[in-house]
């Protein structure tokens, strides 16, 4: 039983990690060895790809910073709006809440790519192009439906007696949110934040059309530019190095928040 289970896990891991491992492998190979796979080559392993990416103009970490900035501001904006919305969704009459949830679900499932031309028009008329902070508006808006759904189910799962006890203790609405409710939905907030950050980190069409200044590009667009930088050859090695560098921060983020996401803080609130 355990052996077959381990086998399954191995297969699944290979299935999902293989492209990443391949990318990692490619990033350390010289371009010659990538093209002539079976030729024996003296300089097969190299850091040249990384050097090339990091010393380009502007250097690659510039794009990392841009994406991090957009990611953090979109996540902050989303949580700022989604937490009060999610809380109120638990307090409104049940039928209204049910309707609102269906509506949000529809919005969450809507393919946002269909919106990007319209968004571009808006950006043009409001003069929001080439502005990293402005990029977090569509990102926050697009992330809101899912964020509100996730957070409101977290609020709904909290025992109502805890909030009532806080009311009797004299805590007003904001104090209850600040001191009791938001700390208790910490794990849900952390996972929601990571989803929003991930979306903004990976988003391509809006970033492509809103930003044209090279210094302000976000990661996906910058990486795509590296891939298409030459008409005559595709710089596989540099491209792979850029992808690896772009994935590292995400990996770090998940490792840091892993415990937060998993831990069940509400344990022991009620009998048990």
């Amino acid at each position: 039983m355990i052996r077959t289970r381990n086998l399954w896990i191995t297969v699944l891991l290979l299935w999902s990690l293989a492209p990443l491992l391949w990318q990692l492998y490619t990033s350390f190979c010289s371009n010659e060895s990538l093209i002539h796979t079976f030729a024996t080559h003296q300089h097969r392993w190299t850091l040249e790809n990384y050097r090339q990416v990091l010393t380009a103009n502007p250097p690659f970490w510039r794009y990392l910073l841009n994406s991090a900035f957009v990611g953090i501001s979109s996540t902050g904006l989303t949580l700022l709006l989604a937490i009060p919305a999610a809380y109120s969704l638990v307090k409104v009459p049940r039928n209204f809440a049910r309707g609102a949830r269906l509506f949000l679900l529809g919005a969450a499932l809507f393919p946002y790519v269909l919106l990007f031309l319209a968004l571009l028009e808006i950006a043009r008329s409001l003069n929001l192009g080439n502005n990293l902070l402005a990029l977090s508006f569509p990102y926050a808006a697009l992330s809101m439906p899912l964020a509100v759904l996730l957070l409101s189910s977290a609020f709904r799962d909290l025992p109502s007696e805890i909030e009532e006890a806080a009311r009797l203790e004299g805590l007003g609405l904001w104090q209850r949110l600040r001191w009791v409710l938001i700390p208790l939905i910490g794990p849900a907030t952390a996972s929601t934040a990571i989803l929003v950050f991930l979306f903004s980190w990976n988003e391509y069409p809006i970033a492509l059309t809103w930003i044209s200044t090279t210094d302000l590009l976000t990661l996906p667009v910058a990486i795509a530019r590296i891939a298409g930088s030459s008409v005559y050859s595709i710089p596989y090695g540099a491209y792979a190095a850029a992808t690896v560098l772009g994935s590292l921060p995400l990996l770090l983020l998940v490792i840091i928040f892993q415990r937060q996401i998993v831990s069940g803080l509400t344990q022991g609130a009620i009998k048990g």
């Binding site: 025992p159 007696e161 805890i162 009532e164 006890a165 806080a166 009311r167 009797l168 203790e169 004299g170 805590l171 007003g172 104090q175 001191w179 009791v180 700390p183 208790l184 910490g186 803080l265 509400t266 344990q267 022991g268 609130a269 009620i270 009998k271 048990g272």
Partner: protein, 327 residues
């Protein structure tokens, strides 16, 4: 009277979950609300606390109409069935949070928390989270929080039901002493009649959102005003005989006596209760429960009699205590 409910009612949709509730609790008095689940006793407590709004009637606390006053300003010390401690805070933080938002100075907060921890013998647990405490300790923290509230009324919603039976009995006198020590009215909700009798000066029996009878434990036991109260109070349950000419006779199991010429019975089941034993009997007038001394041996021919003075008479239609003399 320090807590007065006047004709209180609450409606959910078209259903009245509490209605025509008339209740007064004096200072230093513990009143238990007793009833089966869904009878409206917890809803009544929430109305007093202000967690729900009454749809009709008036609530007075210390002579002041608080019907539309917010829960904070009613100054309620409440212990929830689940204790509702803040799970992310330590015991000391749990107790200090309310003081802080009520604008007590930092030194004042510390002093009060320290003295209540001392009173409740919780000093060793000040830095622990609720999840690390036992059920009894959690209950003490919840009670400490209520005491720190410096309340005008104490409300306790099944505060013992999450504890095991032994601990429950051990804690009763202590709990009673603590909640009655500052002489405020106490409303104590429970579904356990033993607990109600042990804790309360008076008991209000509730049924379908209405108060069926309010009285001392003795009154409820000896003069139940309805068949519902008669069968709800007292264990083993009272025997309700089949109605005859519109009258239901009821007789307590301990009032049944063995005799040489009475109602002939057959023993179905016997339970040892230590000093006494419970016999479940089949008779021409239905099943009877009889409580008898622990050393009584079972006679070959069981015949029962009882004194008519011990009979409770109820109207068969309304279930209310009948005024008719014994026929």
């Amino acid at each position: 009277m320090s807590l007065i409910l006047e004709n209180i009612g609450r409606r959910v949709g078209r259903n009245w979950i509490v209605r025509h509730l008339q209740l007064e609790v004096a200072e230093g008095e513990c009143l238990a609300l007793l009833g089966p689940s869904g009878c409206g006793k917890s809803s009544t407590l929430r109305l007093i606390a202000g967690l729900d709004q009454a749809d009709e009637g008036t609530i007075f606390i210390k002579g002041k109409d608080v019907t539309t006053v917010s829960p904070v300003d009613r100054r309620i010390g409440m212990v929830f069935q689940s204790y509702a401690l803040f799970p992310h805070l330590t015991v000391a933080e749990n107790l200090a949070l309310g003081l802080r938002v009520r604008k007590f100075s930092a030194t004042d907060q510390q002093k009060r928390v320290a003295s209540i921890l001392n009173l409740m013998q919780l000093e060793d647990h000040a830095r622990q989270r609720p999840a690390q405490l036992s059920g009894g300790q959690r209950q003490r923290v919840a009670l400490a929080r209520a005491l720190l509230r410096d309340p005008l009324v104490y409300l306790l919603d099944e505060p013992m039901s999450n504890l095991d039976a032994q601990l429950r009995e051990d804690l009763r006198p202590e709990l009673r002493r603590l909640i009655l020590k500052d002489g405020q009215p106490v409303v104590y909700v429970t579904h356990d009649q033993h607990e109600a009798m042990a804790m309360a000066h008076r008991i209000g029996v509730m049924r379908d959102g209405q108060l069926e009878q309010v009285g001392s434990p003795q009154e409820l036991y000896h003069q139940p005003t309805s068949t519902f109260v008669a069968s709800f109070i007292g264990r083993p349950q009272i025997n309700l005989l089949p109605a005859e000419s519109g009258i239901i006779k009821a007789i307590r199991p301990e009032d049944l006596k063995l005799s040489s010429q009475g109602l002939p019975c057959r023993l179905i089941h016997r339970e040892w209760l230590g000093t006494s034993q419970l016999w479940l009997l089949e008779s021409p007038r239905g099943q009877l429960r009889m409580l008898t001394a622990g050393d009584t041996s079972i006679p070959a021919n069981i015949q029962l009699e009882w004194s008519t003075k011990k009979e409770h008479l109820f109207d068969a239609n309304s279930g209310l205590r009948s005024k008719y003399p014994t026929s």
